[in-house]
C-alpha cells in the first residue's frame, strides 16, 4: 500500500509529519547543491568555494539534528503506525545518509583547494564524468523521495553497479598514468580521493533508494528490484 495522502484527523500530527518531509527535502536540496559545487570546484581547481561549502555543511548538520528531534517526538507523542511509521523510520535513515553525503561533498571541495597547487591535468575529466553520474543518482533518488515513487528509486539502486565499474576503471587508468609519469602522482592522489568519495556517495544514494522503497512498499529492495 502506497503512502496515504488523506489528511490526519489530528491536524497537528499531520503537520509534524509534513515538517519532517520538508526537513528532508531541504537537506536533500542543500546536499545536492553541495555536491554540484564541489565537483565543479574540482574541475576548475578552485579553492574559493571552501567557506560556502562549510556554511552549507553546518546547515545540513543542523537539519539532521532537527530530523532526529522530530522523529523522537513523533515516536514519543504520536506513536505513528503503518505508512506513518515507515515514513518516520525511513526519514531517520535518509537523514543520516544525506548528512554523510554532505560530509563527503565537503571533502571533495577541499580537494579542489589541494589541486589548485598543481598544473591542470586531464585526469579531472574522469572524475567529472563519474561526478555527473553520481549527481544524477542523487537527484533521482531525491525525486523518488519527494514523490514517494519507487520506480526511480529502483533505477538508482540498479545504477550503483555502473558507478562502481566506472570507479574501478578510473582507479586502474590513474595507476597506469601515474606509473608512466610520476609527476602525476601529486594531483593523482587527490583525484583518487575525490573518486573514492564519489563512489561512497553513490552507496549512500543506494541506501536512500532502499529506504524510499521500504517507505512506499513496506518491503525491502532485493535483487530483482521487486519485493
Amino acid at each position: 500500500m502506497a503512502l496515504s495522502r488523506t489528511a490526519h484527523i489530528v491536524t497537528a500530527y499531520g503537520e509534524e509529519l509534513d515538517q519532517l518531509a520538508d526537513d528532508l527535502a531541504r537537506m536533500g536540496g542543500l546536499v545536492e547543491t553541495q555536491l554540484e559545487k564541489a565537483i565543479a570546484a574540482v574541475v576548475r581547481r578552485d579553492a574559493s568555494v571552501k567557506p560556502d561549502i562549510k556554511a552549507r555543511e553546518a546547515q545540513v548538520n543542523a537539519l539532521q539534528v532537527d530530523v532526529e528531534k522530530r522523529v523522537l517526538r513523533l515516536f514519543a507523542l504520536r506513536q505513528p503506525l503503518a505508512t506513518d511509521l515507515r515514513m518516520t523510520i525511513s526519514a531517520l535513515k535518509i537523514a543520516t545518509d544525506l548528512e554523510r553525503v554532505g560530509d563527503l561533498a565537503k571533502n571533495i571541495a577541499y580537494r579542489a583547494g589541494d589541486l589548485a597547487g598543481y598544473a591542470p591535468v586531464s585526469l579531472t575529466q574522469q572524475v567529472e564524468r563519474l561526478g555527473a553520474i553520481v549527481i544524477k543518482q542523487l537527484r533521482e533518488v531525491l525525486d523518488a523521495l519527494s514523490s514517494a515513487d519507487v520506480e526511480p528509486a529502483v533505477r538508482v539502486w540498479h545504477s550503483d553497479d555502473e558507478v562502481d565499474e566506472r570507479y574501478n576503471t578510473l582507479v586502474r587508468e590513474m595507476l597506469l598514468s601515474m606509473t608512466e609519469d610520476s609527476g602525476l602522482v601529486g594531483p593523482g592522489v587527490h583525484i583518487l580521493f575525490v573518486a573514492k568519495n564519489l563512489e561512497r556517495i553513490g552507496d549512500h544514494a543506494t541506501n536512500i533508494a532502499e529506504a524510499v522503497h521500504f517507505m512506499v512498499t513496506a518491503s525491502p529492495l532485493v535483487e530483482d528490484g521487486k519485493s
Binding site: M1, S4, T6, A7, H8, I9, V10, Y13, Q79, P80, L81, A82, T83, D84, L85, R86, A218
Partner: protein, 263 residues
Amino acid sequence: MTDAIHNPADELPIKVAARDVTVSYSGKQALHNVSIDIPDRSVTAFIGPSGCGKSTFLRCLNRMNDTIEGAKVGGSLTIDGQEINDKSIDPVVLRASVGMVFQKPNPFPKSIYDNVAYGPRIHGLALSRPELDEIVENALHKAGLWAEVSDRLAHPGTSLSGGQQQRLVIARAIAVNPEVILMDEPCSALDPIATARIEELIDELRENYCIIIVTHSMQQAARVSQQTAFFHMGNLVEYGPTEDIFTNPRDTRTQDYITGRFG
C-alpha cells in the same frame, strides 16, 4: 476480502471458525457475512470504529445475542468444529467454556471467594470444600491476584481496586475451565499500571486459551495480540498477523483507521 478468513498463525490449530455470520437487530443488519478462522492459544484483537460490530460478533461466540430481543443470528459458528448454534448446545454450558470479560469490572456482590467459586458450584465442578478451595486458589493464581487477596478472601469483591476487580472477573471466568476467553475493552476503565497488569496476564493466559480482545487502543492491540482483525460498518475488512496490520495494512480503510486519518 478472500484472505480475510485465513488463519494467520499457520502453526496453531483453529479454535473458532465463523462462516458468513450475520446479525441483525430488529431487522437492521449489524454484521455482514463475517468469515474468520481464529487460532487457539493466542490472542486475537478486534479493532474498528464504534458501532462497527465488534461486540456484536463477540456476543455471537457465547450466544449472548440470544438474550437480546429482536436479535437474529445467521451463518455458521464452530468451536473445535462443533456448531455452537446447534439445538443440542446449552447456552449456559457454552458460556462456561466461552468466558466473557466486559469493559466495566462486574464482580458479583459477594465475597472474593464466592465470586470465583460461583461458576464451579453451579456447574458442579467440585465435590468437596477442599476441592473448591483448590479451584478458587488456582484460578486466582492464574489471574495473578492470589498474592494480593489470599488473606482476605471473605472481603467483598467490590472492595478491590478496578484493576483487581477486572482480574477477579478473569479468575471467575478461568475457574470454570473455559477454552475461549472474550474480552470487550477490558482495560478502558483502568489506569496504565492496572492495564499493564492485565496485558501481562493476557500474555500469560494465551499459552492455554484462545483469547479474543476488543480494544480501542491501537497500542494495546499491537502489544497483546498476535492476530488483528479490522471491522468496518459490520464487515470484516482485514485480518492478519498483528505486525503486518500495523506496519503494512492492505486496505485503505484499515490504513486510515489505524493512522488516524479521515476515512
